[in-house]
Amino acid sequence: MLQKLFKFKGGIKPAHHKAESRGTPIAAAPLPGHLVIPLSQSAGEAAQPVVAVGDKVLKGQFIGKAEGWLSSAVHASTSGTVIAVEPRLMPHPSGLATLSVVILPDGEDRWMPLQAPDYKNMSLKSVLQYLQDAGVVGMGGAGFPSHVKMQDSAALGDLVINGAECEPYITCDDRLMRERAGEIIAGSGIIRDLLQVKRVLIGIEDNKPEAIAAMQAAVEAAGETTFSVVAVPTLYPAGGIRQLIRVLTGKEVPVDQRSTDLGIQCFNVGTALSVWRALNLGEPVVSRVVTLTGNVEQPGNWEALIGTPMNELLALARPRADTDGVIMGGPMMGIPMPACDVPVTKGSNCLIARSPTLFPPPPPEMPCIRCGACARACPQELQPFELYWWSRARQFDKAREYHLSSCIECGCCAYVCPANIPLVQYFRFSKSEIRAAAREQKMADSARARFEFKQFRAEREKAEKAEKLARAAAAQAAKLAAERDAAPEGESGAVGDAADAKQAVIAAAVERARVQRAETDSRDA
């Protein structure tokens, strides 16, 4: 079927560097010495540990229970003994630690008894629950829990399966599609049935002809008529959700909306595979395919257990002597790892060994000459040099006006900038400042609300008390008047009350001033 395709503006064509790692089949990585399994691997709250030090676990056994609907469960990726439940460094440039379960493998890699659910006869809600418990999250890198995305997708028109893999160097999805096309198609079919969509569009960049052929063959073998495998032009970032939707459907997701508002939901090919495994085999997510490439002797793709320390995994590709760090993800959006032994997580699609020769340090930053190259390259059609200008000037409101929030941090702008300005770094900085300011504002707002409510309650109580006293006094006065006895008692009570109220008003004013001061202080800081 000849699919009508559309274009998005901007984009770049960096060298692919996929040939290095795409040639050899996926191999299973050997068991590492120990596994460090972070309990926070997806958006949402971290999972709660349900094992303790000394516990024996089997492969696939629950070790972290999802905490709330947005969270996702975590499982032991091999059989062995829990030797620690403690904060460990996350694969995140911040160098922050997160609670992790450390497992010493027993070498048997023994699965717990698996039982596939009878998902066809289950309600959508319980299937989603099952996926949450199986730890199925987006495998493309972002790691958003899949069950949440599916829940948001009632009454959809299109399902987009993202096999674009537009970043250079990464080939894990390419290999997956070539080797496990049948499972991916089956998984996509399950998602289609769950969401009751009419059409499934599988977008694959046309630099992966084997993957396209394999997926097409799998679609035909499965006799699926609602599927189309579409070769999309190779143009980074064609795999960006909004860009891929544009290319495949011609629709632009409005800035303030999500794709589901247009009736489109998007899943990565790896996620489709996870869904199939979870529902057809009852297997939770305990491993993923990771591309090992860059400054290594033997690039390739490995099926690695979640929690494998990156240095142990990377050793399989034999990094060269001058390797000076690891990048997780691709060279455009990947992030530098804070240490070489951080663990592989569900979002670790690629590890690039870096060296000064592979990625030379950028030449010194020069002033922006407003050449506009960045704007022409921006797939979100922003004006990066304006964003840069306002970010540099710390005028974050202005940066917001120029749509900073629509920036997907794809790096196209920095790639083409002749002045070597690390634009994305500026944008990330501005975004974090804006987020921090919003958080502070929210905290201040809720503090004020709390304070005002307390104030209101105090005053109400005061008023009620005064009223009661006044009533009592009046009754007393009436009684006393009736008895023609002393009235002053009631009066003195009223006076004391009025003085009380005045005191309270002054205190309130002082407190308000203090809060205001604290607010402006924190805003300036």
């Binding site: 000849l2 699919q3 009508k4 395709l5 559309f6 274009k7 998005f8 503006k9 770049i12 960096p14 060298a15 440039p93 909004r242 544009r246 290319v247 011609g250 629709k251 632009e252 997701v253 409005p254 800035v255 909306q257 000076d324 760090g325 990048i327 993800g329 060279p331 455009m332 959006m333 990947g334 992030i335 530098p336 804070p338 240490a339 870096r354 990625f359 950028p362 030449p363 010194p364 020069m366 002033p367 000459i369 407003r370 050449c371 506009g372 190259a373 797939p379 979100q380 059609e381 922003l382 004006q383 040099f385 304006e386 790096g411 790639y415 002749p418 002045a419 070597n420 690390p422 994305v424």
Partner: protein, 346 residues
């Protein structure tokens, strides 16, 4: 472990490369110009380049900045534009003064590369033509080929400036004619009678400007500049000159003449396209180029200066920031359902 942030890949590009391309694109013009007036123009370019680097280096140092910026080539582009817009036999100090104003006043004092609100080369031209109108109007007469030694003597002030050196340019001639009430006959006849008219514009100059056009198209093709500014510039000049010419063909020259005379091509492709002092949004660029072309025509035909490029571009420089603010393009996802750009791929 160092934490260079993503992206780790970078296109093969640098400010220096951009500037080198611009200079490369000026080359055909320089060659034809040299053939027309002699080696003097090369001397002027070298002179301007030398002092541009000197001033730039000096002031970078004074401002406590690194001298690495000397390598970005921006000062050299400015120097070339000054040498090409000033009369080729200007005294050496006039060129140096122009370079001083461009590099020191218009660029460094505003904060250096990327910060200047005005086009430095045009500031140089404007200041010098206001201060030294006579010297800035001495264009070599057609057919006057001075030997190199004599040209050097003129430039470096060893021998007195010869009156015969200069003659009215075609643009001067038509302006003078326009102002003479008693003028009868047509512009074309006038130009021809003074042997100022070549094949389709000023004699000799038409080939220099054609060479600039060739270089400019190269810049567009290599995406060093975008099409909006030059197209809008040339279009607005064509329209306004066409209107005037249709109204009174005897007193106004035809559009072709205007497009290939004076600084039109240089202005449209090399000067109005300066990104730092111009507009950055696509619509803004159209307005900027269109405005500059229109003003250039009005100044060159009705104003008091021989050509209008410098002042028109400076005026548009003033408006550029405001134009940019009001022409911000819609971003991806602000057009509903993508109906607006239904470009098909296959």
């Amino acid at each position: 472990m160092n934490f260079i942030s993503p992206p780790y890949l970078h296109a093969e590009t640098s400010v220096r490369r951009v500037m080198n391309r611009v200079m490369l694109a000026l080359l055909p013009g320089i060659v034809v110009y040299t053939a027309l007036v002699g080696v003097a123009i090369i001397v002027q370019i070298l002179l301007a380049c030398f002092f541009a680097l000197l001033f730039e280096g000096l002031f970078q140092k004074l401002r406590g900045r690194s001298l690495a910026s000397l390598q970005d080539g921006s000062a050299l582009v400015t120097a070339c534009l000054i040498a090409l817009t000033f009369p080729p036999l200007s005294p050496w100090w006039l060129t140096v003064l122009g370079v001083f104003f461009a590099i020191v006043i218009a660029k460094q004092l505003y904060g250096g590369l990327g910060q200047n609100p005005f086009n430095p080369a045009m500031i140089a031209f404007a200041v010098c033509i206001v201060a030294f109108p006579a010297l800035m109007s001495q264009w070599p007469a057609q057919g006057l080929y001075l030997p190199l030694s004599q040209q050097m003597e003129v430039i470096f002030g060893v021998s007195p400036r010869i009156d015969a050196l200069t003659a009215a340019t075609p643009l001067d001639a038509i302006k003078t004619a326009l102002k003479m009430d008693s003028f009868t006959g047509s512009i074309q006849e006038l130009l021809k009678s003074q042997s100022l008219y070549g094949t389709f514009a000023g004699r000799g100059w038409e080939w220099v400007t054609t060479a600039y056009l060739v270089g400019g198209l190269f810049l567009v093709q290599r995406r060093v500049i975008t099409w909006q500014v030059p197209v809008a510039f040339l279009a607005s000049m064509t329209v306004i000159s066409l209107i005037c010419w249709l109204v009174d063909p005897t007193r106004f020259s035809d559009p072709l003449f205007h497009l290939f005379s004076g600084g039109t091509m240089l202005g449209a492709f090399f000067i109005a396209t300066d990104p730092v002092s111009g507009c950055a949004t696509p619509t803004g660029k159209l307005i900027f180029g269109g405005g500059a072309g229109l003003l250039a025509y009005l100044i060159r035909v009705f104003g008091g200066f021989p050509d209008g490029i410098a002042f028109s571009i400076l005026m548009m420089n003033i408006c550029a920031p405001l134009i940019d603010v009001y022409t911000q393009p819609a971003i991806f996802g602000m057009r509903r359902g993508g109906k607006k750009k239904e470009r098909e791929h296959e």
